[in-house]
Amino acid sequence: MRTKALLASAAALGVTLAACGSSSSSSTSSGSSSTPAAPAQITVGTTYSGSGAYATSSIPEYDGIKFWVQQENAKGGVFVGAYNKRIPVKLVAYNDLSSATTAATQYNQLITQDKVNIFIADFGSVLTAPAVSLAEAHKVVLFDQTGTGIPFFTPQNKYIVLCDLPVSSIWPDVLAKFIISKKIKNIAAIYDTNDFDASQATTLKSDLAAAGINLSYYQGVPTSTTSYGTLLQTISAQKPDAVLEFGYAANDTPFLQNVQSSGMHFKMVFTVFPGQLLGLFQQQVGNAGLQYTYTYGTNFYVNYPTVTEGLNSATFATDFAKAFPGQLNSLSLDGYNTGLVVQASLKNAKSLSQADIRAGAMAASGNMTTLDGKFVLNSEGAQTGELLPVAQLFPSSTGITLKAVYPASQATGTAVYPAPGA
């Protein structure tokens, strides 16, 4: 009798699974290429981290998108080439609390319930990851802001566009060249064991190895690491000429604090995020802990007076500061730049179908310069145009000033190596 009941349950389960299986195929949206009447509005959907580990980076990016929407709506909407007119933009945004699982369900909500025209991921690779397959399966273009993870970009995925940064694996190319140019041989590198940081460390290691330089210290640590005291003691024992730390903002901050509190002085200290969130680092680390350290000099610190899309660097700085006082940084520029990539895609697209929007983005590739530099995509939708210069933080009358020091073509200052006091 028990067996019969279980068999009955199994049979009913089979029927219900078949029912839900058939529903799934009908629930996906298709990328039709027909051009219906112009919509009343263009819906832009995204998620942001209102709290949690990624909030400090995600909120400025979200502000940048909001600023772009405000700018376009003030002109009557974003220009859509397929209809040769401006259409107002509606922004739909959910707070994912820095949780990849929550972000995943909200991404699905944006695609299946809100049926957004433009689908934008949250900050960083961890929160972008769940959007990649969803976008591909639903044939919706994912405007990937700063998710620079390598696994996202594959030849078969035609529904992703990396907007604001190059893939993380090519970030340290310029840094490696700088180290080689300075003839620095004894190098210690510490990195967080996540895709973003580990891929940078791997690239740096192989770039330096190609130049005959082997790292004297090369150690991965969990991304949750916030105490570097013991690790610094070990590094210090190697007497390195350069100490490089690849982490997120939540790692770079305690690392720099620990370097300062330990009283250690290295000839060169490099961290990733001060160049993107300088104001935050000034508050949390202090100017004394930042001076003469190195970071990636994002395009926020490069002046682009002439652009082909959107505002130039100076106008953006002024207008954004008025709209969002105290929020101006590299990541808010990234958010705004995402809007500009969307804008260019819509301008070039022959219809509002997702395939045409992707084609619109590809058409902009190589032909667009914004306040974030040259926009160039490879065939997989990965950004390859915006190489990040090496920058150094100099003491100044206002506290700290970031200057690009390498390569010479982008330099706004001269590197001080070794750092004073080392």
């Binding site: 349950s9 299986g21 529903s23 909200q106 078969q156 991304t223």
Partner: protein
């Protein structure tokens, strides 16, 4: 047949039918509910995750509800399942459904390896499982193991992505987990587990092989978490180690199970469906309030319904019954 014997036979048949029908209903209602829900609400991933949480809450139920051991590190089996099944797909080209089963076996295998943790009790066991799961996460995400686990770079299962199949598998897992709990609850095995939970020394004196019975419950629970992780990885498709070795998965599964009521068949299902619905309903608009509501729910639960919603329900049902008896 004497009349009294006839009545006894009828009573036994009635009670047997009841013990078979109620688990069948407890299984079929959520299964049919999930199957129909997709026709009403097309956010399939949300429903998939909800089904996964129902299975996880039932897995916690088997472990905590029947043995009294609270596995805070339950997410470890979940992550292992996601990785084992993902690697089985990528390296051996196994069909996803088969890979899900392999993921479950992977979870159970790790459960067997961690079984010495049963030397610990109470909070020490909870912390021990948490530490073990964090250790597994660190191993999986270690760049030195990139050739095996792909280290910190995560897994990309986009070539195997099939939202409908993943959702169907999640529903099947809900059924499996509820059938497992029903079996445990109604069997001699379940009785021995309850005896162990209430007083392991007395159970041992009565001839119960305490370590072995607990070990079996632990394996079933770990296998369910492993399969849940496998389906999660398959449905999410591109994931990093931190997404599947996330301690909040354990916290949510435990809270869902406690909210509904552990030791019962319906409790964890109701708890997971209700609380996860609330989570997403608020999460879609203002998730920051969820943490406040979540905190309040836990406080109220501990104060007024320590046995969960079903405990609350039973309390009132008994009160009404007593009142009726008094009135009669």
């Amino acid at each position: 047949m004497p009349k009294t014997a006839e009545i006894k036979t009828l009573q036994n048949t009635g009670s047997k039918t009841k013990t078979l029908i109620s688990p069948a209903i407890a299984t079929l209602v959520p299964v049919i509910g999930f199957a129909l829900a997709i026709h009403v609400y097309s956010n399939e991933l949300l429903l998939t995750y909800m089904a996964i949480y129902v299975a996880l809450a039932q897995g916690v139920n088997i472990m905590y509800g029947f043995t009294g051991y609270l596995p805070f590190g339950y997410f470890g089996f979940f992550g292992v399942g996601a990785y084992v099944s993902g690697l089985a797909m990528l390296n051996y080209n196994l069909p996803p459904v088969v890979a899900v089963i392999v993921g479950g076996l992977g979870g159970a295998l790790v459960g067997a390896i961690l079984s010495p943790l049963f030397r610990l009790r109470g909070a020490y066991f909870a912390i021990g499982t948490l530490a073990a799961s964090e250790a597994i996460y660190t191993i999986v995400a270690n760049p030195s193991l990139q050739s095996i686990t792909n280290g910190p770079y995560g897994l990309n299962l986009a070539n195997y992505y099939s939202s409908g199949m993943a959702y169907g598998s999640a529903i099947a897992l809900v059924a499996i987990s509820i059938i497992a709990v029903s079996y445990v609850r109604g069997s001699r095995f379940g009785l021995t587990l309850k005896a162990i939970r209430d007083d392991p020394y007395s159970a041992s004196m009565a001839g119960v092989n305490v370590p072995r019975q607990r070990f079996y419950a632990w394996l079933i629970s770990a296998a369910i978490a492993g399969m849940a992780g496998s389906i999660f990885g398959w449905a999410t498709s591109v994931f990093y180690p931190q997404a599947v070795f996330d301690s909040s998965l354990s916290v949510l599964a435990i809270v869902f199970a406690l909210f509904g009521g552990v030791g019962s068949v319906w409790g964890p299902t109701i708890g997971a469906v209700l609380l996860y619905s609330v989570y997403n309903a608020i999460g879609i608009s203002n998730p920051e309030y969820f943490q406040l509501i979540y905190g309040l729910v836990i406080v109220l639960l501990v104060l007024f319904a320590p046995r969960g919603l079903l405990g609350f329900w039973n309390f009132f049902a008994q009160k009404i019954r007593r009142k009726r008896v008094t009135n009669d």
